[in-house]
Amino acid sequence: MGAPFDLNDDSVVVIIGTGAGGGVLANELAQKGISVVALEAGGRYLPEDYTNDEWDSFGQLAWTEPRSTSGDWRVAKDFSGLPAWIVKAVGGTTVHWAGASLRIQEHEFKALTTYGEVEGANLLDWPITLAELEPYYEKAEKKLGVTRTNGIPGLPGSNNYKVFEAGAKKLGYKHVHTGRMAINSQDYDDRTACQQTGFCFQGCKWGAKWSSAYTDIPRGEATGNLEVRDHCHVAKIEHDKTGKITGVVYFDKDGKSWRQKARVVCVAGNSIESPRMLLNSSSNLFPDGLANSSGMVGKNYMRHMTGSVYAVFDKPVKMWRGTTMAGIISDESRFDASRGFVGGYEMETLSLGLPFMAAFLDPGGWGRNFTSALDGYENMAGMWLVGEDMPQEDNRITLNTDLKDKWGLPVANVNFSDHPNDIAMRNHAYKQGQAIYDAAGATRTFPTPPYPSTHNLGTNRMSEKPRDGVVNKWGRSHDIKNLYVSDGSQFTTGASENPTLTIISLAIRQADHIAEELGKGNL
């Protein structure tokens, strides 16, 4: 366990949040001998604590503090108090995640250049290229043990995958396989191979799926350079009169408030809480919130174009058996405006247990049309559609001053409306997804609307020019030099791939950069 650092120790790097970004950054810095205090709002849960039960697991792990919604997205109607599905625990949403680990493509890093101006969208090129990130993608794939990289074999195909593959091949899709997954197809890095239990979203009880909760975090702690304080909710980031960050104020389990001094602060609370923290830290010097001279904090919220297709067959599939998401078709993940939209999408196998299927198949639906679909549950196959959505300034996180959390802090409101490009892409994806299952012999298919957001991106975006975004290519605030953003909120655009491998690659890269800057005396 890491040695406890003093509250007045102003030589430490403070990281807020221990998910994909924060958890990895904490370990990477600790491995380099840098002192780190990581503050995590949630508690600690390990594989032995996880449960093979969807609602119980949700109650154990999910962020259920109040949030509010607005905008014309269907989630605001179906799940008005639950805009996003995010974990509140040591390890963050990597406890829930399914493990799909893809690199963003070269052209997607240059969205504005590739797609051109899109009306109503706030597209921008990333300030980094694929070539710059490649060495870090390699490190991240090794860390996670991603299948189909570094000679690691793919996972075996489950029933749900076999149906998906059969339909995809009949339709002529070429890039179809069991995915690049941060799930062990064989023992790797002291973690066992996947036992196909089928509860990847509920925390993998075997530890076969990578999560920072039981890899990076304990390893960082073992160096003696990392102290993780769980049940510690950061309320405010503080600065001195020159604008330099001096530390953070947080509430512990018992509601007591503490001030931890810091040399550097890295914000990694996910794309909803990170901008909320920056906005809640407004001061006389920074009346619009920290790092917000561009006005971009909280704006350009992206959640990926999503949707699902479920299908019923005349014979059993039992999709709940086996990995939740080990199957992908990548053919549609390309730039081809002739389809009626820019950007691309992936199709990935997905299964839900009966309790979640009842809640998510057709939220608000009732009557025989709905129940006859569920009656076919045993014969059902499913896929998730995930594609690039357009950044829009009005899609944003703001403070809801009418709604306070238990510490009296304004909560985040998530405003989102689909861009016409998102809608065109979703319709295309529904059509293709349904065609795949029809080709495999489905008797009925269901174009299922988006769930509460699992991919939350873009609200502190990276930009070349300070006026276009919040942080630079290292995730460092354009305005305040010892303030960093280290999570998915840095994304300039969303790309079509699941985001976490990129979040982790950026965190590894940021650790190198922070170490270098500390070494040079720049921090």
Binding site: K162, R321, D375
Partner: protein, 170 residues
């Protein structure tokens, strides 16, 4: 039954000795509702028995599964037979009856009842009942088995040797 649970199951004998009134597929007696074959019965503590019977039928009409017995719908709605809910439920059911021309339970065809529900589906009452059923009905473990869902699998070693890839009809 747990202590403090307001829903007392009666013995079949006790049930059969009381006078029975037929309403829909449920039997409504003085202070209780039961299955026609007396397979189960539930005593109404706060709601009128007829209201309780209507609520059970309403639950089935919202999420009709012919293979699921009434007892699971009863489990899903019994929490409404409480002091806190009695007013809202009696009012909601009264409204339903009014829209049904007097007696929701008296409408023999599901289609007739659904036509009534279409008129109230945006009300807070309907949405409360429907929303509660999503977990109240579908998160009952015995119900999972009816749909074939196998639930927890870690203790059995997952499906690696138990058919995760056993599909044979493709």
């Amino acid at each position: 039954m747990k202590k403090g649970n307001a829903y007392l199951l009666m013995s079949r004998r006790e049930l059969l000795t009381r006078s029975l009134v037929i309403g829909g597929s449920l039997v409504i007696g003085a202070g209780f509702v039961s299955a026609p074959d007396a397979a189960w019965a539930m005593e109404a503590q706060h709601l009128k028995p007829k209201t309780l019977a209507t609520l059970i039928q309403l639950a089935r009409d919202i999420y009709p599964h012919d293979q699921i017995g009434d007892e699971f719908y009863v489990n899903a709605i019994k929490g409404y037979d409480s002091k806190d809910h009695v007013e809202a439920i009696e009012a909601g059911i009264e409204d339903l009856n009014k829209k049904a021309g007097g007696d929701y339970l008296g409408l023999g065809w599901e289609d007739q009842r659904v036509a009534v529900l279409r008129q109230v589906e945006d009300t807070a009452f309907f949405q409360m009942i429907r929303g509660g059923l999503v977990t109240g009905l579908y998160n009952q473990k015995p119900v999972w088995a009816i749909f074939g869902y196998e639930g927890e699998s870690f203790s059995k070693g997952g499906y690696i040797n138990r058919g995760f890839n056993d599909i044979n009809w493709l």
